[in-house]
C-alpha cells in the first residue's frame, strides 16, 4: 500500500527515512558480501528485482475494490525466496522505480513506504514462513500464511504511519479509523494475493524445483519427492 507523494508531513518523512536507512544499509552490506563471494548472483538479484517489480504492477483479477490502489506487492514471495534483508534492498529499489516509472508512491514518502513494504512486510512474511515450516506443515500452507500476514502487517504499519501523521482528534481514534477502512478493503485482497502466491509457488515447484532448492526454500527431501 503506497503512501502518496507529500501525504505525510515533513517531520514524519524524515522520521521514516531515519528508521529505514540503517536496515537498508545492513541489507546493502549483506548483498555486497553475497555478490563478492558469488559474482554470478549480481545479475540474478537484479532480474529478481525486475520480477518483483512486474509482479507488483500486475492487477489482481476481479477483486478490484473501488478506491484502493492495491495490488500484489510481490515482496512476500521475494522474502521467502531470498530472505528479508536482501528483499529489503530489492524492494527499496523497486519502490524508487515505481515512483519514477509509474508514479506510484513518492520520494518524500519513500522512507515510510520502505518501512512498511520493504521491512515490516518481508520480515513478517519470512518469520511466518519459517515458523510454519518448523511445525512440519506443507510449504504451500506456509506460503499462504506468509503472504497473508506479510500483507496484513504491511497495511497495519501503513495505518500506524497515517495515524501518527494525522493524530486527529487523538492517535487511537485516528488509528482505529484507518485500520477500519483497511480491514474492509485489504483483507480480501490479502487473501486473494496469498492464494495467488500459492499457485505461483506450486508452479515453480513443479517445473524447476532445483531453483527453489538452490535458494534453500525447500529441503532436499522435497526435491527427491518431486523428481
Amino acid at each position: 500500500m503506497h503512501i502518496m507523494e507529500n501525504f505525510l508531513p515533513l517531520q514524519w518523512c524524515f522520521f521514516w527515512y531515519l528508521l529505514t536507512i540503517p536496515v537498508v544499509v545492513y541489507g546493502i552490506i549483506q548483498i555486497k558480501d553475497i555478490t563478492e563471494k558469488n559474482p554470478e548472483s549480481k545479475p540474478l538479484l537484479a532480474v529478481s528485482g525486475a520480477f518483483i517489480f512486474i509482479l507488483s504492477s500486475i492487477r489482481l483479477p476481479s477483486i478490484t475494490v473501488p478506491g484502493s490502489t492495491s495490488h500484489p506487492t510481490g515482496i512476500g514471495l521475494g522474502a521467502v525466496f531470498f530472505g528479508p534483508t536482501v528483499t529489503c534492498v530489492l524492494a527499496s529499489i523497486v519502490l524508487v522505480f515505481q515512483a519514477l516509472l509509474l508514479a506510484h508512491g513518492g520520494i518524500t514518502t519513500l522512507g515510510a513506504n520502505i518501512f512498511s513494504m520493504g521491512i515490516i512486510g518481508p520480515f513478517t512474511a519470512w518469520l511466518t514462513y519459517k515458523t510454519i515450516i518448523k511445525t512440519g506443515l506443507s510449504s504451500s500452507i506456509a506460503i499462504f500464511f506468509a503472504a497473508f500476514t506479510g500483507d496484513i502487517f504491511t497495511y497495519i504499519t501503513t495505518a500506524f504511519q497515517l495515524a501518527f501523521a494525522f493524530p486527529i482528534p487523538n492517535f487511537n481514534t485516528a488509528l482505529f479509523k484507518f485500520i477500519g477502512i483497511y480491514a474492509i478493503t485489504q483483507i480480501p485482497i490479502s487473501i486473494a494475493e496469498a492464494i495467488l502466491f500459492v499457485i505461483i509457488f506450486e508452479h515453480i515447484l513443479k517445473l524447476r524445483p532445483d531453483i527453489l532448492r538452490l535458494l534453500k526454500v525447500i529441503g532436499p527431501r522435497k526435491v527427491k519427492e518431486i523428481i
Binding site: F7, L10, I28, P43, A46, V47, A50, P169
Partner: protein, 258 residues
C-alpha cells in the same frame, strides 16, 4: 503501463535540459509543497508545473490530465475523508439527513492535504516525465550511492522492460486460449504466468552472467558516463524561483480558506 511515462522521459521537449537542474527543481519544489501550511503555494505550483509539462515539455495535455486523474481521485477521497472525520473545532454546517457535522478545521486540513498531494505529485510527475532514468543513474553515481545498488538498479531497469514485453506476450497467448474467463481461471492463469515469469527471470539471470563473463566481467561494473554541469543562468533561475516560493509560503503561512 510504465512504458509510456518512460517513453516521454526520452522524447520530451525538456530532455536536453540539464538533469541535475530538473531533479533539484522537482525535489526542492516538492519539499516546499510539503512544508507549506496553507494551500495557496501548492495550488500555484500545481498550475506552474502543468504549464511546464504541457507547454515546455510538450507532453500531450490529454495524457497529462489522464496521468493526474489517479492522484486527483485519491486526493478527493482523502479530502472527503478528512473533512468528514477529522474536524472538531468549529462546526461549519450540519447535514441533518445523515447526521454528520462538517467542521471548518477538517475542511481546511482536507484542502491543505489535497493541494499538497497534488503539488507533490506534479513535481514527481515532472521528474518522471522529463528526466530519463539513465540520467538519474548518472546523478546517483555522482552522489556516491553505493555502487552495488547502482549496478543492480541498472540491470533491473533494463530487464523490467524485457520482462514486461514477455509478460504481455504470455498474457495474450493465455487469453487466446481462453484463460482469465472465470475468477478461478483468472487466478490459475495469473499464477501460472507469474510462476513462469520467475523461472524465466532465473534463466535470464544465468545467461546474462555468461555473456558478461565473455566480456571480461570481473565482479564490478565500471561505469562509463559523461557528466555535464548546470549553467550559471540555470542556477540563478533555480535559486530565485525557490526563494520566491519560500517567501510565498512564509507570507501565506496562516491563510485558511475558512
Amino acid at each position: 503501463m510504465g512504458r509510456t511515462i518512460d517513453d516521454y522521459a526520452y522524447s520530451n521537449g525538456l530532455k536536453n535540459t540539464n538533469s541535475l537542474f530538473k531533479v533539484l527543481f522537482a525535489l526542492l519544489t516538492m519539499l516546499i509543497c510539503v512544508i507549506s501550511t496553507s494551500p495557496i503555494i501548492p495550488f500555484i505550483i500545481i498550475f506552474f508545473i502543468m504549464f511546464l509539462i504541457i507547454f515546455k515539455a510538450k507532453i500531450p495535455y490529454k495524457f497529462y490530465l489522464k496521468f493526474l486523474s489517479v492522484p486527483l481521485f485519491f486526493g478527493i477521497l482523502t479530502f472527503l475523508f478528512m473533512t468528514l472525520f477529522f474536524g472538531m473545532m468549529e462546526p461549519w454546517f450540519k447535514i441533518n439527513l445523515i447526521n454528520i457535522i462538517i467542521y471548518k478545521d477538517g475542511f481546511n486540513l482536507g484542502i491543505l492535504v489535497f493541494t499538497r498531494i497534488l503539488g507533490g505529485f506534479s513535481c514527481l510527475g515532472f521528474l518522471a516525465l522529463t528526466t530519463p532514468m539513465t540520467e538519474i543513474f548518472s546523478l546517483l553515481e555522482r552522489f556516491k550511492i553505493p555502487l552495488i545498488i547502482l549496478e543492480i538498479a541498472m540491470i533491473m531497469y533494463r530487464y523490467i522492460f524485457v520482462f514486461l514485453e514477455e509478460t504481455t506476450n504470455m498474457y495474450q497467448s493465455q487469453k487466446t486460449r481462453l484463460g482469465y474467463q472465470s475468477i478461478k481461471g483468472s487466478f490459475q492463469s495469473l499464477g501460472i504466468l507469474a510462476g513462469n515469469l520467475f523461472i524465466r527471470t532465473w534463466i535470464r539471470g544465468e545467461q546474462i552472467y555468461i555473456s558478461m563473463e565473455s566480456r571480461c566481467y570481473n565482479g564490478s561494473i565500471k561505469s562509463f558516463k559523461t557528466q555535464n554541469s548546470i549553467s550559471t543562468k540555470n542556477i540563478v533561475l533555480l535559486i530565485s524561483f525557490e526563494f520566491l516560493i519560500i517567501i510565498g509560503t512564509y507570507l501565506t503561512a496562516n491563510y485558511k480558506i475558512l
